[in-house]
């Protein structure tokens, strides 16, 4: 993993179908740090995460690493980050381990059986390795989606409401793996409304960045 890196967004504005969701937004995450994005429903947490993935583009401002803007080097950016969105992105006809293996193969990271097995056992999925994902419960599917992060070995994790459908045990596993990831120099950006205790973190409250028509309501 790369030594000291910084992921920065400056003066970001995001529009959705002509309506301004947030503006003048800045964020910064460094190696070993976590950024917690909070805010009420519709405040733009998911929109901000999608800007960070590069799937959508900001109206103003830029998002960049130390060595360049993400829109200039999308492949390098994608290499560095893993995104777990609302949808689990799992194929129900494939088994748990097939889902992980095929995903890693397309990402092109070094195929490692041990890494996948380790990721599955961390999330308590070893016994379900050969079960089709279609037979799993919502919480178990979520665990598989999160196990992908461990198998992918990327620098930055982007998590959108990762705790939804997880039980207490799985939330502890998630927090431990985030902390482990940070100790190894990784970074995490987490959009959530659930209280999640991951030690020292940077906080980004979306409320402070909403358009003028929102300000009156506070």
């Amino acid at each position: 993993m790369i030594g000291c890196m910084k992921f920065v967004g400056e003066n970001l504005t995001c529009n959705r179908s002509g309506r301004e969701i947030f503006s003048r937004l800045h964020f910064e995450v460094g190696s070993g740090e976590a950024l917690l994005i909070t805010g009420k429903n519709g405040a733009g947490k998911t929109s901000l995460l999608r800007l960070m993935t590069g799937l959508s583009r900001p109206v103003t401002g830029s998002i960049h690493w130390d060595d360049g803007d993400i829109s200039c080097f999308p492949e390098r950016h994608c290499q560095r980050m893993s995104y777990v969105g609302h949808a689990d992105a799992l194929k129900s006809v494939l088994t748990v381990s097939e889902n992980l293996h095929l995903w890693i193969a397309i990402r092109g990271t070094t195929q490692s059986k041990e890494l996948v097995n380790e990721a599955l056992s961390t999330y308590g999925l070893s016994d379900l390795r050969d079960t089709p994902v279609g037979e799993l419960s919502t919480g178990q599917r979520r665990r598989v989606a999160l196990a992908r992060l461990l198998a992918a070995d990327s620098l930055m994790w982007l998590l959108d409401e990762p705790t939804i459908a997880l039980d207490d045990e799985a939330i502890v596993i998630l927090i431990n793996s985030i902390n482990q990831h940070r100790r190894q120099g990784g970074m995490a950006v987490i959009a959530t409304n659930a209280p999640i205790d991951i030690g020292p973190e940077r906080l980004l409250d979306m409320r402070r960045h909403q358009g003028d028509d929102f300000d009156n309501s506070f």
């Binding site: 993935t53 590069g54 799937l55 959508s56 583009r57 492949e75 390098r76 994608c78 290499q79 980050m81 995104y83 969105g85 609302h86 949808a87 689990d88 992105a89 799992l90 194929k91 129900s92 006809v93 494939l94 097939e98 095929l102 995903w103 193969a105 397309i106 990402r107 092109g108």
Partner: protein, 222 residues
């Protein structure tokens, strides 16, 4: 990059074979449509041999459009398309791999079964090489053009209606040159012009369709 291409094709093929129904559906639909025509038109040998290539081509076109809807939309709905779009490779490679996989699971089986239909219709054996090469050249173009339409209709409501309306007009050139080549072979007129034009259509779609498709999908994911 080649690894990403191979892995994506591998993934698509596993998904299609695991589901199974898609592959069978394409082949059975192709055979059924082609078999319906003689039942409706009666057993006139000369008439059947004459309309044979046209029927094979229309059936091929319809049955390859049968599964194109799922090509991107299944991944769009379960979030896999986002993951594919944020994989560290040019997205166009992954899109091209998906389009190729669609041909492997629709065009290729049709190619294998078209001689069977040819026998039903009493198409002279001497014209088989041209008929088969016209299908070999034409079906990849169907997958490419169908892919563009599937990407355009991504996430739209009433996609099932929209998709054929978008795709079928775009497929007309393939249909015209494909049947023209096979008919020319039966009548003994030169086949080269139609086959060359069909090859030209294929080259053009191979060059243009993957990039349009990947841009359109990125737009839909935005």
């Amino acid at each position: 990059m080649i690894i990403a291409f191979k892995s994506t094709i591998h993934r698509e093929l596993i998904l299609v074979f695991r589901r199974g129904s898609d592959l069978c559906l394409t082949v059975i639909f192709f055979l059924l449509v082609a078999i319906l025509f003689p039942l409706a038109l009666g057993p006139d040998q000369r008439l059947l041999a004459q309309i044979g290539p046209g029927v094979i081509w229309v059936s091929a076109l319809l049955s390859s459009m049968l599964t194109i809807d799922r090509l991107f939309n299944a991944d769009f709905e379960d979030g896999s398309l986002e993951q594919l779009a944020t994989s560290p490779h040019p997205f166009i490679i992954i899109v091209f791999a998906k389009l190729s996989a669609h041909w492997l699971t629709s065009g290729l089986p049709i190619l294998f079964f078209s001689p069977v239909i040819g026998i039903f219709y009493g198409i002279p054996l001497s014209s088989y090489p041209v008929l088969i090469s016209s299908i070999a050249l034409g079906t990849p173009a169907l997958s490419m053009i169908g892919g563009v339409s599937a990407a355009l209709s991504l996430g739209a409501r009433r996609r099932g209606v929209l998709l054929p309306l978008l795709a079928l007009p775009l497929l007309i050139p393939v249909l015209i040159f494909g049947t023209a080549a096979a008919n020319a072979a039966i009548l003994g007129t030169p086949v080269a012009p139609s086959l060359l034009l069909l090859g030209g259509v294929l080259m053009a779609t191979l060059a243009v369709a993957p990039s349009i498709t990947s841009i359109t999908i990125k737009q839909a994911l935005n």
